[in-house]
């Protein structure tokens, strides 16, 4: 929203603060300013100029002009209307050679001066003086005005400025101008929720013409197109009072009545912007006897709009339901200056104020027009004035600073609140109508009014006085942090991947789209599913980084999101880690990851699996268990997926944490020495070591303290297709030193057992 500094100054006559400073004050007291622009910059030093002679030179004119002081000067001018005897405006832009003419300054068009749209020729000037000066335009961030319907007009901002600078505010509205007398026009409101208030005045004998320059200048400098006097008046009032208005050509309305009603399903309207809209019963319209003539609160219809031939007009000034306007505007993708304001919940008291202001402007701009009959003003009930109790001690405690009651009162009154003493430390505060629609409803809202006006910089920072309590700890978070530290120490770099995947990725990684939540409004068509696995992201990381590195490690801790609608989705934290090497046989990467796994969960078991996914190496894939539960997978990427060797660990952290054993009490250190012996088992190459170890444990019996895998070997001395696996068996007893007979008995049992499995042993 743009604000004209000159306009604010008209409403706050005592204001004596430069725009750059005012901008800062508004930012820290009211709403965020995005900067100050200059409008009408060329008006600086502009003079009324009489063209003494005009001599064509090629396509240009060499004009000799009198600028009211000194000798006449020569100006080159390309405008077709440049002629001897005319009065126009000269602007000092320096001396330069234009088309062979030594030109001093330039003659300006209305558009160049910022005084209107006209840019066909230089401006025709009738006055002896130029009563315009460059203006500063403050640009205020619309988002910071969301809750302030009043700040969508200059008067609202002027009120803030007056309060901040302790100057007086001048209200431009004179309600006495509202006409009395017999009814001129009928209105019927069918839906007071849609339209709480609908107010109308009419004018006859209107002559449509361009607006005077001062009016055009105001609109132009705020980025609004001047169109004609009547339309410009509606825009001026909207920009001043935040109340959008609409003007109809009365002679194009069929019948004597405007009806406010929901649109008929499929009803059409050709709007002022030339678009044809098809409406539904959820939209509101203003209709005449036969058809919709305006889309309520958003845009007028073309068929009944003001044209150069118009002589009788109807001014509409209505109040519309904010969420209704918002919905229609969103559905039709049509945001207008009017809809933006009505969306903010405008003040119903403002409709007649706007009409009074429009009447005042008509008297100046169209003095020959006659007002037709009295004000037509239809409403059911206007909201009662709202009062809020404000406890001053609560105010001080919430701000963290004492504000003297007189200062509180002054601040609120300057913002047009009414303040009444209602007891000890208690004010009863009445909210002005334009703040009551959705902004101010509670004492806390008043705390904000006082806080921003005293300035938050006057509140000292202070630590709170609170109980010294230990916050609850989240074991998950503590553990994730340990895992991150562990992984980083072991050479893994942490990545963050997006939560989105594509249908194509789901297919490639054999994920079921039925298990996933789908994004209804994705940014791109390849980001339309929520990830149910971290693995596709990890593969993308591998593919990217292998272009730059021969070997690397990375990991991510992130959430899989599984669809369980109607229940809440399940978000399962996972660790995905990968070791990549362009060369080598791939073994070390897998075992490195296994080591990481065991560092995270020592009780995890890596077991062979028959069910292999298409992106996994079929002979290098394992399932990870804790107890009987599957908690993850360890695998090498299938060679068709990536060049080189990529080992990948995928671990369900939630389940792993749940299954982690409790910390056990310590075991005493054995009092009696234990004994150890080694046994090598010659087994077929693909016999799994872990399975063999389990059997050895069974054979060894209760005296076994531990089994340690020492080495594997295949080659000379071991038959083709076989390998030797050597284990160190440690036996002992807490009660005594074992005799050699007892030790030998254990060894013999193991040897016998292993042979029973069909394997040779060596000791």
């Amino acid at each position: 929203m743009k604000f004209s500094m000159q306009w604010i100054q008209e409403l706050v006559p005592g204001l004596d603060v430069p725009a750059a400073e005012l901008e800062q004050l508004i930012t820290v007291r009211t709403a965020e300013s995005e900067g100050v622009e200059r409008a009408g910059a060329l008006l600086e030093g502009a003079r009324v100029a009489r063209v003494l002679s005009a001599e064509p030179v090629g396509k240009l004119t060499r004009a000799l002009v009198d600028i009211g002081e000194g000798e006449p000067i020569t100006v080159a001018c390309g405008a077709p209307n440049c002629r001897a005897g005319m009065r126009t405006v000269w602007v000092p832009v320096g001396v330069k050679n234009v088309g062979g003419i030594e030109s001093n300054g330039m003659l300006a068009s209305a558009a160049e001066l910022g005084l209107g749209r006209e840019d066909e020729g230089i401006i025709e000037w009738s006055s002896d003086t130029i009563d315009f000066a460059p203006d500063s335009i403050l640009e205020i961030d619309n988002k910071s005005l969301t809750h302030r319907p009043d700040l969508w007009g200059h008067l609202g901002m002027a009120r803030e400025v007056a309060a901040i600078t302790r100057e007086n505010l001048k209200d431009p509205v004179d309600l006495a101008l509202l006409p009395k007398g017999s009814d001129s026009f009928n209105v019927r409101v069918d839906d007071y929720v849609l339209c709480p208030r609908f107010s109308v005045v009419t004018f006859e004998d209107v002559r449509i013409a361009p607006s005077p320059l001062w009016l055009q200048y105001r609109l132009e400098s705020l980025g609004l197109n001047p169109i004609n006097n009547v339309v410009d008046i509606t825009n001026f009032v909207m920009t001043e009072l935040a109340q959008p208005m609409h003007a109809f050509d009365r002679d194009k309305l069929r019948g004597d009545r405007l009806i406010v009603r929901p649109a008929f399903e499929g009803e059409g309207l050709l709007a002022l912007n030339g678009e044809e809209y098809v409406l539904s019963a959820a939209d509101g319209v203003v209709a005449d006897g036969e058809r919709a003539v305006s889309l309520a609160g958003i845009i007028g219809g073309k068929g009944t709009s003001i044209t150069e031939e118009t002589t009788n007009i109807v001014f509409e000034s209505a109040n519309w339901n904010a969420s209704q306007i918002r919905k229609t505007s969103a559905r039709l993708k049509l945001r207008t200056d009017a809809s933006m304001r009505f969306e903010k919940a405008q003040d119903p008291a403002n409709t007649v104020r706007a009409l009074a202001r429009a009447i005042a402007l008509m008297r100046v701009v169209c003095p020959e027009a006659r007002i037709g009959g009295r004000l037509t003003d239809d409403y059911r009930a206007l909201p009662e004035p709202q009062t809020i109790p404000l406890k001053l001690d609560v105010l001080d405690r919430k701000l963290g600073r004492i504000v003297p009651p007189d200062e509180v009162r002054e601040i609120l009154e300057r913002l047009a609140f009414k303040v009444r003493d209602a007891g000890l430390h208690l004010f009863e505060v009445t909210v002005p109508t334009w703040r009551a629609t959705k902004d101010i409803a509670e004492p806390d809202d008043l705390v904000e009014e006082v806080g921003r006006m005293i300035g938050y910089d006057t509140i000292p920072p202070e630590p709170p006085r609170v109980a010294c309590t230990v916050p609850p700890d989240d074991p998950k978070r503590v553990w994730y942090r340990e895992i991150r530290a562990l992984a980083a120490a072991r050479g893994y770099t942490e990545v963050y991947n997006y939560s989105f995947l594509s249908d194509e990725q789901f297919q490639r990684f054999a994920l079921s789209p039925d298990d996933a939540l789908r994004v209804l409004n994705p940014i791109a068509s390849d980001q339309n599913l929520l990830r149910t696995s971290l693995i596709p992201g990890i593969f993308a990381n591998l593919e990217l980084n292998r272009k730059h590195f021969d070997a690397f490690r990375l990991f991510e801790i992130g959430r899989e999101i599984h669809n369980l609608t109607p229940a809440m989705p399940r978000e399962i934290p996972h660790l995905a880690a990968a070791v990549y090497a362009a060369d080598g046989d791939g073994r070390s990467g897998l075992f490195e990851l296994k080591l990481l796994l065991l560092a995270i969960a020592a009780e995890a078991r890596v077991e062979p699996t028959a069910e292999v996914l298409p992106y996994e190496h079929p002979a290098r894939t394992a399932t990870i268990y804790i107890g009987d539960s599957v908690v993850g997978r360890l695998f090498e990427a299938h060679p068709s997926m990536i060049e080189g060797r990529a080992a990948i660990l995928n671990l369900d952290l939630e389940r792993t944490l749940d299954l982690r054993p409790q910390q056990q009490p310590f075991q005493p250190i054995p009092k009696f020495p234990s004994s150890a012996f080694d046994i090598s088992v010659i087994a077929p190459l693909r016999e799994y070591s872990a399975a063999l170890e389990t059997r050895i444990r069974e054979f060894a019996g209760s005296l076994l303290e531990r089994i340690e895998f020492l080495r594997e070997y295949s080659g000379p001395q071991v038959s083709e297709g076989m390998r030797s696996m050597t284990y160190r068996i440690t036996v002992g007893s807490p009660e005594r030193t074992l005799s050699s007979d007892e030790i030998n008995a254990v060894r013999d049992r193991i040897i016998e057992g292993v042979r029973g499995l069909g394997h040779e042993t060596r000791t």
Binding site: K143, E448, E494, F555
Partner: protein, 341 residues
């Protein structure tokens, strides 16, 4: 006999001095001092034939000669040992400027690092660190935060809507609500996490970014307390005293609501391109918790109040490391990420 002794001593000492290896030295020792057949032993054998007074005198001389020879042997041995040690030390020259073998540490993501720092800071001040779901319902993401159904924040262009009526949380604020549902009062909590906005991605915009929500509910929490925490937080994060200012900002879940600006760390407030010549950089929205939000969570706003803030972790990381392209953070590119080890 006396002469023999003197000669033996002289010869031995000079032979010891001339020895060139420990082996040669050992040979001399055996030849001179050997218990059987050593030269000294031979001389002492002849002593039995002497008169007792001569025997005593010669015995003394013999001991003197033995001691002299032993001492010469000992010092020559020490010389050899010291030379050997010197030679070994020299031979063991090692180039310690070589890079070590083995795996070099990886790096934690810069967002993780800054998040952990801030978590530690707030834990030290008694705040619990909470987690919440990334997929939310409308109630927790909007209604419970005093964002009514027709508020602009619910527009299709801001929120990712999902099948089943779910949505991706647009801020970490729903964790406030879940915190109030779950924990007794008074409550001090922060909630870091991933949030989503339906926005096209470019160097300064992301659809996925990271926030850290904070909330404190107690008996008398003031704007002054909020300023204290924010100043402490930012001083810690930027490792230098931070000056902050509050100005009005509208967020439905706080009242009063603020935008918090930090005095520009680049120019110190005199104005530069980073702060758009204003001397201030907009950093985070905050405010006192709106009574409606408390009521929605069944908390009596006449008895309890509090503050809340939403810190943009992504933005903080970009400021701290002067990162000029937000997309790098989720690129998975190790050329970028390895810089943070």
């Amino acid at each position: 006999m006396e002469e023999n002794l003197a000669e033996l001593e002289r010869d031995s000492v000079s032979a010891i001095a001339a020895a060139t290896s420990p082996d040669e030295l050992e040979a001399i020792r055996v030849r001179v001092l050997g218990r059987k057949g050593g030269a000294l032993a031979e001389i002492s054998k002849g002593m039995g034939k002497l008169a007792p007074e001569d025997r005593a005198r010669l015995g003394k001389l013999l001991n003197q000669a033995k001691a002299a020879i032993e001492s010469a042997l000992e010092s020559r041995t020490a010389e050899f040992e010291s030379a050997a040690l010197t030679a070994r030390l020299d031979a063991e020259w090692l180039d310690l400027t070589l890079p070590p073998a083995g795996v070099k540490p990886g790096a934690l993501h810069p967002l993780t690092q800054i998040q952990q720092e801030i978590e530690d800071l707030f834990r030290s001040m008694g705040f619990a660190v909470l987690d919440g779901p990334e997929v939310e319902d409308e109630f927790h993401n909007f209604d419970a935060l005093n964002i009514p159904p027709d508020h602009p924040a619910r527009d299709m262009q801001d929120t990712f809507w999902l099948t089943g009526g779910w949505l991706l949380r647009t801020h970490t604020s729903p964790v406030q609500v879940r915190g109030m549902e779950r924990y007794p009062l008074p409550l001090r909590m922060i909630a870091p996490g991933r949030v989503f906005r339906n926005e096209s991605v470019d160097a300064s915009h992301e659809h996925t970014f990271y926030q850290l929500e904070g909330m404190m509910i107690d008996r008398d929490v003031s704007v002054g307390n909020l300023i204290y925490f924010m100043q402490t937080l930012l001083t810690e994060v930027f490792h230098q005293p931070a000056t902050v200012r509050l100005r009005p900002g509208f967020f439905p879940f706080v009242e009063p609501g603020f935008e918090l600006d930090i005095r520009c760390l680049i120019c110190g407030g005199s104005g530069c391109a980073v702060c758009k010549h204003s001397g201030w950089v907009e950093l985070l929205p905050c405010g006192l918790v709106n009574p409606n939000v408390l009521r929605m969570s069944n908390i009596d706003p006449d008895k309890w109040n509090g503050f809340a803030f939403g810190l943009g972790l992504t933005r903080l990381v970009m400021m701290r490391y002067a990162i000029n392209d937000i997309r790098l953070l989720q690129s998975g590119d190790l050329r970028f990420l390895n810089q943070f080890s």
